[in-house]
């Protein structure tokens, strides 16, 4: 499913004179099917407001532009948001805080029960098992456990299983790695790639972690003050060093190295992934002793 917004505008507290905040200002952005798309920007730049439009958690206002996801026109009043939400999964920041059911099994099944209430029990359990195993947990061992007695990392995985259980084609994640330690983070990224290779066709990842974006995303957009500052491949957007710094954003390690070397007259041309950077840099520096 293609995700497309045109002139999308959103104003919090519209109508009140001094309290209204323009969170999105005519945002036009297209994410093609198959992309691993990054959204970056400072807190308050409109990232979260934007992605919450993509499954209708925030409705497109009248004369506030349009959002089209696959065959769904979200500005249309008759849009079937329920079936849309089964296809556009959304993982919030600290998703473990949305767990509620008595058992892991019930919690993961929640989405299925809502989206497909008439599904036979056996089929439902099969999908629940699949989702739990996809996130790397042993279903038989934890299905009857309370989600609240699991470890922090396991809770997060269960919460994600509860989102992917409907096999969404588009998966939106808002700062999903927050609070994880380095190993937890790495495992999490591996999970994302695994999902991307399976039923999830498009990933939209909101993150403050520039290394994460430069390393994993096909393209990314930088939000600033409710507008899109730039869109492009990591190489394209992270090469605008000075502008990024001006926006108060960090540079990925590879970009900051490339920049520092450039200032000393050494050009390293790479795609700004760690692998790419090392390959290009090794060509220049290896053997020079």
């Amino acid at each position: 499913m293609r995700v497309e917004s045109k002139d999308l505008t959103f104003i919090y507290g519209e109508g009140s004179k001094n309290l209204s905040v323009t969170a999105l200002d005519k945002v036009s952005l297209t994410v093609e099917e198959g992309e691993f798309f990054g959204i970056i920007g400072q807190t308050g730049s409109g990232k979260t407001t934007f992605v919450q439009h993509l499954n209708g958690l925030i409705k497109v206002g009248k004369d506030k532009g349009s959002v089209i996801v696959g065959e769904y026109n979200l500005s249309d009043k008759k849009c079937d948001f329920k079936s849309l939400r089964a296809k556009v999964g959304m993982v919030f920041q600290y998703p473990e805080y949305q767990l509620f059911a008595e058992t892991v099994k019930d919690d993961v099944a929640f989405g299925l029960k809502n989206f497909a209430p008439n599904m036979p029990e056996g089929e439902r359990e099969k999908l629940v098992r699949e989702a739990v195993e996809t996130v790397g947990l042993n279903y038989d061992r934890i299905k009857e456990k309370s989600p609240f007695e699991l470890s922090g990392g396991q809770k997060r995985r269960v919460a994600i299983a509860g989102v992917i259980v409907t096999k969404p084609e588009v998966l939106v994640l808002d700062e999903p790695a927050a609070g994880l330690d380095p190993v937890g983070k790495r495992e999490f990224i591996e999970l994302l790639h695994k999902l991307h290779g399976a039923f999830v066709k498009t990933i939209i990842l909101v993150s403050h972690d520039m290394n994460l974006v430069s390393e994993n995303c096909t393209r990314a957009a930088i939000f600033s003050h409710g507008k899109i500052h730039s869109v492009g491949t990591p190489k394209e957007i992270f090469s605008r060093y000075d502008e990024l710094v001006e926006l108060g954003l960090d540079l990925p390690v590879t970009a900051s190295l490339t920049r520092a070397l450039k200032e000393n007259g050494i050009e390293i041309d790479s795609d700004l992934t760690v692998d790419g950077f090392i390959e290009s840099a090794a060509k220049i520096f290896a053997g020079e002793k």
Binding site: L19, Q52, G89, F148
Partner: protein
Amino acid sequence: MKEVAFGQYYPAKSFVHNMDARVKILAVIAYIVAVFLVQSFQFMGFAACLLFVLIATAASGVPFGKVLKSIKGILFFIILSAILQVFFNATGNVLVEWGFIKITDKGLLNAAFIVARITLMVIGASLLTLTTSPVELADGIESLLTPLKWLKFPVHEFALIMSIALRFIPTLLDETDRIIKAQKARGADFESGNVFKKAKALIPVLIPLLISSFRRADELADAMDARCYSGSKNRTKYKKMHLTWRDLIGVLVMAGLITGVVYLNITGFLAVVV
């Protein structure tokens, strides 16, 4: 973004803001008593209360719209009470009759009366919370309750609990919003179905909220302990309350209002008797 109509402190420096919290609390209690003292059909009494609340609002620097918004939260309740009065008050002269429903002049008057009473009460009470920071409010209540210490009532703890509850309202509202969105994204439906279905739909919101409140309480307790909290013993207070000329004026105006309403009641009563 976080708009809680009722109870949200509106920071400003004004005559009313600078009044002693204790005086404001007592004044609001007296005001509510005055509103209740106004008897049916004595709309003059309401006019006096309205005048009072308008003056107080003007002196508080809080925009009128903000004050009016405080009704929003209980608008449903107000309308419901009014409807019940209009349709089911069978006394008085019948104006419209439609099946078993009769609309009478007395029913309409009663409805107007109830709307006026609740609205005035809520506006007055919200003016207190709009102009008094939660901390001042808690301190004021603590100070007013001090005599209860003799009865072993834990006044200090009570006040602290209140101020913490007030401090966490915006945080928990934010959290509720987030959980609702997260469950909606998983297909939860909070809008359709009957009352029971809707109540059941709230479970996936209430349980995470409850659990997170426990977690917050636990962490807050640690943070308070870490900052040497050990109850009211040997504790000092940074903010001291003291009465000023503003408070005297407030008390006088309040006394005037009560006298006026009582006077209207008595003359009204006399008018009926004589």
